[in-house]
């Protein structure tokens, strides 16, 4: 995923940096020119002063160099300065011999600048032609040389000055960018945070006025999607309700017909058996319808906010007792002894009561239905730290470890030949537990026989 911030940063900062670097490069090239010009001006000034001091005394030339001529060059960079004044024939009148005579022809009052090496140091030199005193058209050449320290130093100073300016500029750009991000991107960010805070599966619409205009299409399409989902869910709900209603009504008619048949007297044995079998089938069918309805309800609950789920509080021991009373006749018929071990009767959790009933009933029913012969089904309920543990233990045939994950799938039946099982009981348990954030696990009981189902409910704030 591309970050808007990163893109913005790249597209603002990079061009600024490019401009800065270009400007620095130009400045760098330019500083050399400037420094050279300054140096040339100094050299020229110095050469002029020296040349003016040349005097003709007693048939010879004399030169006393005034301090000013050399003080011109006094900087912190400590340059060395050389000079020489030569006659037209190249004879040294004054100054140093080291400075080689200027070879080219010069007009009077003309100067030339050049670079050379003097005593292993780079120097810039001016060759300045001027008239010799006491002659009409003879001229002397004054040369002044300066080492490059000042030139280079000045150039460096100039460059660093510009560099500092650019650094300040770039820093300002960066600060400006950060502020701009904070300011312009904060609505986007807070919109994202609001989305993240929404409960998963929430069907609430988003407020269009609370986000920047640019996000309006996003909000629009999200709201459309939510509305569509809401419609789908509602029609699904309606479909489930209608289906259940029709099936139940049909079964009610069937039941009435069987009841009528059974009461009509003079039935032979086959007829009685037949009617009993039909009645049993109706009961099983009803059970499956009810289980499917529970699954549909759980499915809907998943879509709804957890706050609504948690709005009711349930005393688990009360639910366990009433479910056991309800299933006691069935257990009795199957010769299953139903009982409790430890049941703490003051454990209250936040959950819809019908979901808890369904879990407990499905577990007990499952244990009873899968009992091959007379057996025992025991429940226990105990606190365990921030959770409470509901265990249902039976001494039936158990579930092999390899099958334990599969039995939670809808319509999965361990023993396909068993007609009483719909394969929905444990699926219901699992899905309700998921909805209630409870953890369900299967194990072999301590004594090694049968099945133990453990459900760990979070106690929450209840």
């Amino acid at each position: 995923m591309q970050s808007l911030k990163k893109r913005l940063a790249i597209w603002v900062f990079l061009p600024t940096l490019l401009i800065s670097v270009t400007d620095l490069l130009i400045t760098y090239l330019h500083t050399d020119e400037v420094a050279t010009l300054v140096q040339q001006q100094l050299l020229k000034g110095s050469a002029k002063i020296i040349s003016e001091q040349l005097a003709f005394v007693d048939g010879g030339y004399e030169l006393s160099v005034p301090p000013a001529a050399l003080e011109l060059f006094a900087t912190k960079y400590q340059d060395r300065v050389f000079y020489s004044v030569r006659s037209p024939k190249g004879m040294l009148i004054a100054g140093t011999e080291d400075l080689a005579p200027y070879e080219e022809k010069l007009q009077i009052e003309q100067e030339k600048y050049y670079s050379t090496t003097l005593r292993d140091e780079r120097v810039r030199v001016i060759a300045y032609a001027h008239t010799l005193p006491n002659t009409s058209n003879d001229y002397a050449v004054t040369q002044v040389a300066q080492t490059m320290n000042s030139h280079d130093g000045f150039k460096r100073d100039l460059f660093w000055l510009t560099m500092r300016e650019h650094l300040v500029l770039l820093t300002m750009v960066v600060i400006g960018l950060v502020i701009a991000f904070r300011w312009t991107l904060s609505p986007v960010k807070s919109f994202g945070e609001r989305l993240a805070r929404r409960k998963p599966g929430s069907l609430e619409k988003l407020d269009e006025n609370s986000a920047p205009e640019e996000l309006a299409p996003v909000i629009h399409s999200m709201n459309d999607y939510v509305a569509e989902l809401d419609k789908t869910l509602t029609s699904y709900e309606q479909f489930v309700a209608n289906t259940a209603h029709h099936l139940r009504t049909s079964f009610a008619i069937l039941t009435s017909q069987v009841n009528y048949g059974m009461r009509s007297g003079d039935l032979n044995q086959t007829q009685t058996e037949l009617l009993n079998a039909i009645q049993k089938t109706i009961l099983q069918g009803t059970k499956v319808i009810n289980q499917l309805l529970v699954l549909a309800a759980v499915e809907q609950n998943k879509q709804q906010a957890h706050s609504r789920l948690a709005s009711t509080k349930v005393n688990l021991a009360e639910v366990i007792t009433s479910v056991m009373e309800e299933l006691a006749p069935l257990a009795q018929q199957k010769q299953v002894e139903l009982g409790v071990n430890v049941v703490e009767d003051d454990i209250v959790i936040a959950a819809p009561i019908y979901l808890i009933r369904e879990v407990v009933a499905s577990l007990i029913d499952n244990s009873i239905q899968h009992m091959q012969q007379a057996g025992v089904v025991s429940l226990s309920l105990q606190r365990q730290g921030a959770h409470c543990l509901l265990s249902v233990v039976d001494n039936g045939q158990g579930i092999p470890p390899a099958e334990r994950q599969k039995v939670f799938a809808r319509f999965y039946r361990l023993d396909e030949s068993k007609p009483n099982s719909s394969g929905l009981g444990l699926a219901i348990v699992k899905e309700i537990c998921d909805t209630l954030l409870a953890d369900v696990s299967l194990r072999t009981p301590k004594n090694g026989i049968g099945l133990q189902v453990d459900i760990l409910f979070p106690l929450g704030g209840a």
Binding site: H245, T249, N259, Y260, T321, M324, G339, N341, S378
Partner: protein, 225 residues
């Protein structure tokens, strides 16, 4: 006894009518809420069997109108929606009882009998569980109409159980009920009474079930569930 059956499914309505006629009830059928509403303006009934999902005027509305008129006729709802919330809502609206479809005629008639009994003002002194009956006036237990011969302690235990039939009665409750008979009862002794009682009511269809850790419960076992 005259009943009004409000059920939009004509087939179900007709079979239920036949069954109820068989049991000696006079039944009038209404297939819509409006028809029922009209009937209720001119006729009186001993009880109403009301389906909720009716075309047009809904069962809920019919029930509310009835109660707004201060008509206290017992109403038993028979409906295909059986969520706990639906049940609570309807009982709050003024229904007297609720039965989810599909239901067994025996169950329907048992609920109907109890509704009619309550409405007639006298609480029936006879408690029933299958073919086991207890006349709380004469203090006699009968199975299939034959008097049961019980010791005072057995009698006390069975009475406590039949008064709460379908619900668990803890051993402590049972023992406490026996203390009035002068001496404390050991759990062992209680078990012996239960064993004897089970034998004595064997043929009545009523059974005493042990819910280990919780107590005993008297319940009626239908034959072919």
């Amino acid at each position: 006894m005259k009943l009004l059956l409000v059920e939009d499914n004509r087939e179900l309505s007709s079979w239920l009518t036949r069954l109820l006629n068989q049991s000696g009830y006079a039944v009038e059928q209404a297939f819509t809420g409006e028809a029922a509403d009209t009937l209720l303006m001119t006729q009186t009934y001993d009880a109403i069997l009301l389906d909720l999902t009716l075309p047009g005027l809904k069962g809920q509305t019919l029930l509310r109108r009835l109660r707004e008129k201060n008509d206290e006729v017992p109403v038993l709802i028979i409906s295909a929606q059986d969520s706990l919330q639906a049940i609570i809502d309807h009982l709050n609206l003024g229904a007297d009882d609720y039965l989810a479809k599909p239901f067994d005629i025996q169950e329907l008639e048992a609920r109907l009998r109890s509704l009619l009994r309550r409405a007639s003002g006298k609480t029936n002194p006879v408690l029933l569980c299958g073919a086991l009956s207890y006349d709380s006036n004469s203090k006699i237990f009968r199975s299939h109409g034959n008097d049961l011969n019980l010791t005072p302690r057995e009698h006390a235990v069975l009475e406590a159980l039949i008064r709460k039939s379908g619900k668990t009665v803890s051993k402590k409750e049972l023992a406490d009920g026996l203390v009035t008979l002068n001496d404390a009862v050991s759990p062992k002794a209680l078990e012996i009474y239960i064993v004897r009682l089970r034998k004595k009511i064997e043929n009545s269809g009523a059974q005493i079930i042990t819910l280990r850790g919780l107590g005993y419960m008297l319940t009626y076992l239908a034959e072919s569930v």
